[in-house]
C-alpha cells in the first residue's frame, strides 16, 4: 500500500495539469445546457410540421413504397430533432453520444434476422395451413 501511495504522489503534477485541461475544455458546460429559447420554438414548429406531413400520408391514402419511405423519412427526422436538440445530444461529449446512439443501431441486425424468420414462417403457413392471401 505504501508503494502505491508513493507512485500516485509522483503522478500528482501530471494529474493536476490534466484536471485543469478538463476544466478548461468543459467550461462551457459548467452552468448546464444554455441555449436560446428560440431554438426550442423552431424545433417545436418543425416537429409539428413533420407530424402533420406524416398524418397527411395516411389522410391521402398513399400506398406502397412511397408511403413507407415517407413514413420512415418523417420518423427519422422527428427522432433526430428530439434527440439532438431537446435531449441535448448534439452538445454532449462524443464518448457519451456514441455509447448511447450506437447500440440501438445494432437492433437493425435483429430486424434483419426477424424478417427472414417471419418470411419463412409465412411460407410454411401458406404451404401447409391456409389458403394463400
Amino acid at each position: 500500500m505504501t508503494n502505491l501511495a508513493v507512485h500516485l504522489e509522483a503522478q500528482q503534477p501530471l494529474l493536476q495539469t490534466h484536471v485543469h485541461e478538463a476544466i478548461a475544455t468543459g467550461a462551457a458546460h459548467v452552468k448546464g445546457q444554455q441555449h436560446p429559447i428560440k431554438l426550442y420554438l423552431v424545433v417545436w414548429g418543425w416537429l409539428f410540421v413533420l407530424s402533420t406531413c406524416s398524418y397527411l400520408v395516411d389522410y391521402f391514402g398513399l400506398h406502397g413504397y412511397l408511403r413507407w419511405s415517407l413514413i420512415l423519412l418523417f420518423m427519422v427526422l422527428k427522432a433526430g430533432l428530439i434527440v439532438a436538440v431537446f435531449m441535448h445530444m448534439a452538445w454532449e461529449r462524443l464518448a457519451l453520444a456514441y455509447a448511447i446512439l450506437l447500440p440501438p443501431v445494432l437492433v437493425l441486425v435483429f430486424v434483419a434476422i426477424m424478417v427472414f424468420e417471419s418470411e419463412y414462417t409465412h411460407l410454411i403457413r401458406v404451404l401447409f395451413f391456409a389458403a394463400p392471401t
Binding site: L4, L14, H18, A22, Y40, L72, V83, F86, R93, V126
Partner: protein, 240 residues
C-alpha cells in the same frame, strides 16, 4: 469533478493482486463520461435499456404482422372517428401525437429556465408538461375503451389477424405506463422546484443529498424519450 483521476494512457498504475485489484479497477475513479454527471449518465443508460425493450415489442409486432396469412386490420379505419358528421381517419392518434409533441416543447423550455434558476417559470412549465401528459393518458384510456367495446381482445378482433389486439394492448399499454410514470415524476420534481429546494440546497427526504437544477434536465430526458418512443409507435403501428 476536479478530484476525479483521469486515466493516463501508456502507463499501468500499480494495483493490488488478485480479486482486490479487479475490484479496485472497476470501482475507483474510473470515469468514461468526463464532464457528464452520474445522474445524467445513468438516465441515458436506463433509456438505452428501455430502447431495447420497446425495440423487442415493435420487432415482435413486425414478426406477427409479416408472418400471418390473415389480412391485418387497417389502422386508418380502426382508429377513425366521426366528428361533426364527418368520418376522419386516424384523427384521435394525430391529436395525441400533437399533444405529446407540445408537452416535449414545454419540457425543453422548463429545462432552459431551470438552468437560469427561474424557479417559478420552471415549475409552471413542468406542470403544464404533466397536464399534457395526463391528457394524453386520458385519450389513450378513451381509445382503449372504444376498441374494447368494439370487440377487440388480445386473442381476437372483428377485422382480421388475431395478433392485432395483443400487439396493440402490449405496445400502447407499455407506452401509456411510461407516460403515467413520467407525469408522477414531473409533479414530484416540479414540487421541489416550486419550494426552492435547489436554491437553498435543501437535502432530499429520501437520499439526504443536495439537489441541483440538473434534475430538471434529467426528468426532461425521460420525458423526451417517452415522446421519442411515440414517434416510432406512430410510424410503425398506426401509419404502416
Amino acid at each position: 469533478m476536479a478530484e476525479t483521476a483521469l486515466t493516463n494512457p501508456g502507463e499501468s498504475p500499480a494495483r493490488a493482486a488478485g480479486w482486490q485489484g479487479i475490484a479496485a479497477d472497476w470501482s475507483s475513479d474510473q470515469r468514461a463520461f468526463k464532464n457528464v454527471s452520474w445522474g445524467k449518465a445513468m438516465m441515458w443508460i436506463f433509456l438505452l435499456s428501455d430502447t431495447f425493450i420497446f425495440s423487442c415489442f415493435l420487432l415482435s409486432y413486425m414478426t406477427a404482422r409479416m408472418s400471418t396469412t390473415v389480412p391485418w386490420p387497417n389502422p386508418s379505419e380502426v382508429f377513425a372517428l366521426n366528428i361533426g358528421g364527418r368520418h376522419i381517419p386516424l384523427i384521435l392518434i394525430a391529436i395525441m401525437t400533437f399533444i405529446l409533441i407540445s408537452s416535449s416543447g414545454t419540457m425543453a423550455m422548463a429545462v432552459n429556465f431551470g438552468y437560469r434558476r427561474d424557479r417559478v417559470r420552471t415549475a409552471i412549465l413542468m406542470l403544464v408538461t404533466a397536464a399534457f401528459g395526463a391528457t394524453f393518458v386520458g385519450m389513450q384510456a378513451f381509445e382503449w375503451t372504444k376498441l374494447i367495446m368494439e370487440g377487440v381482445r388480445p386473442w381476437e378482433n372483428p377485422w382480421g389477424a388475431a395478433q392485432f389486439g395483443s400487439c396493440f394492448f402490449m405496445i400502447t399499454g407499455f407506452h401509456g405506463t411510461h407516460v403515467t410514470i413520467g407525469v408522477i415524476f414531473l409533479i414530484a420534481i416540479a414540487r421541489k422546484v416550486w419550494r426552492g429546494d435547489f436554491d437553498v440546497e435543501r437535502r432530499g427526504f429520501f437520499t439526504s443529498r443536495k439537489g441541483h437544477y440538473e434534475i430538471v434536465e434529467i426528468t426532461g430526458l425521460y420525458w423526451h424519450f417517452v415522446d421519442l418512443v411515440w414517434v416510432f409507435i406512430f410510424a410503425f403501428f398506426y401509419l404502416w
